[in-house]
């Protein structure tokens, strides 16, 4: 539905968006994820019409939207600060956009009621924005931006101002509303957990470029670069050189005097090519004895244990000095911990547990 074609945006010398081409499909929940300053907000503001691309074109439903001013676009935005009009009540805030369309009075009433119901704000219709709590304000902002039936809804860090518990509840609410209304949502966030939870596709951005676009599970399990692997979740990165060893399999030598690691990878590597093995901590098993049938096993010393309630993370120092994180779920209550600080343990993982990435 949306097509960015070689879009570049420069502010003086600074390039915020660098020759970017992406497609966003109808009824999709699309997340733009990246550190602050990576250009994700600029991208969103270009969709809303507050910025114009320096080069390239943006198409919405086949139409070039460059000459269309923000007030004429079938795009609505939910602002990071919510931008609720402080002098208007909740009801009037939601009705604001509808009144601009010269919609008949009773249609406005119906639509606002429907929006209030959708966001469970019926009780607060007459209140002013400063008379309701942060979570309620956030819902007013959502209701207001959805009221006009936009083809596309932009959400700029919509949950940034909420505390963690409320944020999680709201994430599910957002997904629910997105499914009910069938609107295309584009969300900008720097919170990878939020992007993974709500989005159907995630675009990881850095320095004005899209690094990878994929579903949350593919982004997590099959990152296409060290940057994405490192940005999303926790990861162990082991550097080495690859040697082909059968179909899709490689022997990765990573440290002299240690047997090479066995890795399966769909990405092709040439003999002796430098590479990184990215492996998630929860895919590394920890044991006191050398596991009999593991593809890879290394010995190390426990440096640190982080107890997080549901899981524990062990920081294990290898003889090479590298530190590998291994995670185990605490499936039993008051489990006797098998390992403690300074213990010598074995870490093991299968050949398919990690991803082999180019330098």
């Amino acid at each position: 539905m949306i097509h960015f074609q070689n879009v570049t945006k420069r502010y003086g010398e600074f390039t915020a968006i660098d020759n970017l081409t992406i497609d966003i499909y109808e009824r999709e929940f699309y997340a733009l994820l990246g550190p602050s300053g990576c250009g994700k907000t600029t991208l969103m503001r270009m969709l809303a019409g507050f910025e114009t691309p320096t080069e390239g074109k943006i198409f919405l439903a086949g139409q070039d939207i460059a000459p269309v001013p923000p007030n004429k676009r079938a795009v609505n935005m939910m602002f990071q600060s919510y931008a609720l009009f402080p002098h208007l009540s909740v009801w009037e805030n939601i009705a604001f956009g509808l009144k601009r369309e010269k919609m008949p009075k009773h249609d406005i009433d119906d639509r606002v009621e429907a929006m209030l119901k959708l966001t469970r704000l019926e009780k607060f219709a007459r209140r002013k924005p400063h008379q309701i709590s942060g979570g309620q304000r956030q819902r007013v902002a959502l209701a207001r931006s959805l009221a006009k039936h936009p083809k596309l809804l932009l959400l700029d860090e919509p949950l940034g101002a909420l505390d963690k518990k409320l944020r999680q509840d709201t994430q599910f609410e957002l997904m629910d509303i997105q499914e009910k209304t069938g609107t295309t949502f584009v969300i900008v966030t720097h919170d990878q957990e939020e992007a993974m939870t709500v989005a159907s596709r995630v675009a990881v951005m850095d320095h004005g470029k899209i690094i990878q676009v994929a579903t949350p599970d593919r982004i997590y399990e099959n990152p296409n670069s060290v940057y994405v692997a490192d940005f999303i979740g926790d990861v162990n990165l082991i550097e080495g050189t690859a040697t082909p060893n059968g179909s899709d399999a490689y022997a990765m030598s990573w440290h002299e005097g240690h047997p090479p690691l066995t890795v399966k990878s769909p990405n092709a590597f040439s003999d002796g090519q430098k590479c990184h093995l990215a492996i998630r901590p929860e895919k590394v098993a920890i044991s006191s004895e050398q596991p009999a049938e593991a593809d890879n096993a290394v010995q190390g010393r426990i440096l640190d244990i982080a107890y997080l309630g549901n899981i524990s993370t062990y920081h294990v120092e290898l003889p090479t000095g590298a530190v590998i994180k291994a995670q185990t779920a605490n499936t039993r209550r008051i489990a006797r911990r098998a390992f403690t600080w300074e213990d010598t343990v074995w870490l093991s993982w299968t050949a398919t547990a990690g991803v082999l990435l180019a330098d």
Binding site: P70, N71, K72, S81, F85, K128, Q131, I132, Q136, S145
Partner: protein, 271 residues
């Protein structure tokens, strides 16, 4: 509460005495029976009665109010637009120069402003009267309005305007429906400031007024040169009380609003 140290108490008393004794004396003597300003001869309100029968003073008061209302309204419109453009206009050519020029009249000696306006009016052959005073007052009050309004606009959340555009407003509608209602308190206080500036201006008014139009400050000033009469005291007392009531009302209203907003916000967070 801690008791004040003697030093603080003395400084406070001296300070307030310095500020208010002249006015208190003026108010007391406005109720003096005697025609002699400096001799107390018993309580009377006769000077107020006489004042209300003095055509010249009443005319001057009427001119003053007309001038103040018109000039402060024009100054508010122009000053608000200037402030909006300077804060929101982005980096257009000569922006720094313009903002400097907006503030320059604030520090310009009134005599010079008055004189230059006088020369201008003579130069373009404009007859001096109420209209020229209104123009002159608009000129200098506009700067004050734009200072007050731009200080509010600087802290104004830009995304509110963007939200209005996003919801289908044209830029003009966004200004009328969102920006203006929100900055209204600053615009109103700008208007009040312009109004009071115009009310008590003597220097610029005397340069730009003609024989047909005399404002109250000019009238008082010329009357006092012939000797202070108790009528002037009475007039001044009325002006003082109007200003006092206005200031107290305004501050009470603001205080009440702030307190209410705080209460409601706390209630909302608890809910």
């Amino acid at each position: 509460m801690n008791r004040m140290s003697w030093f603080n108490a003395v400084s406070l008393t001296l300070g307030f005495a310095f500020l208010y004794i002249p006015m208190v004396i003026l108010v007391i003597f406005s109720f003096n029976e005697s025609k002699l300003v400096t001799v107390w001869a018993g309580f009377s309100t006769k000077w107020y009665v006489e004042l209300l029968q003095n055509e010249a003073f009443l005319n001057a008061a009427w001119v003053t109010i007309k001038v103040a209302v018109f000039s402060s309204t024009m100054a508010t419109v122009l000053g608000t637009i200037a402030a909006y453009v300077l804060v929101r206009g982005g980096r257009f050519m000569g922006r720094t120069l313009f903002s400097g020029m907006i503030y320059a009249p604030l520090v310009m000696p009134e005599v010079i402003t008055g004189l230059s306006l006088l020369l201008l009016f003579i130069g373009i052959g404009l007859d001096r009267g109420v209209f020229t005073i209104v123009l002159a007052h608009t000129t200098f009050a506009m700067c004050y309005v734009s200072v007050v309004v731009s200080s509010r606009l600087v802290t104004f959340d830009r995304s509110l305007e963007e939200a209005a555009l996003d919801l289908g407003c044209s830029p003009a509608e966004a200004f009328r429906l969102v920006t203006l209602p929100i900055i209204a308190p600053a615009v109103i206080s700008g208007w009040l400031l312009a109004f009071t500036l115009s009310l008590d201006d003597l220097v610029i008014a005397s340069f730009t007024s003609g024989p047909s139009a005399t404002t109250l400050p000019i009238k008082i000033f010329s009357a006092v040169r012939l000797g202070v009469s108790p009528e002037i005291n009475a007039l001044s007392t009325i002006m003082i009380s109007i200003v006092t009531v206005g200031v107290i009302t305004a501050s009470l209203v603001t205080k009440h609003q702030v307190a209410r907003q705080k209460r409601e916000e706390q209630a909302a967070e608890r809910a």
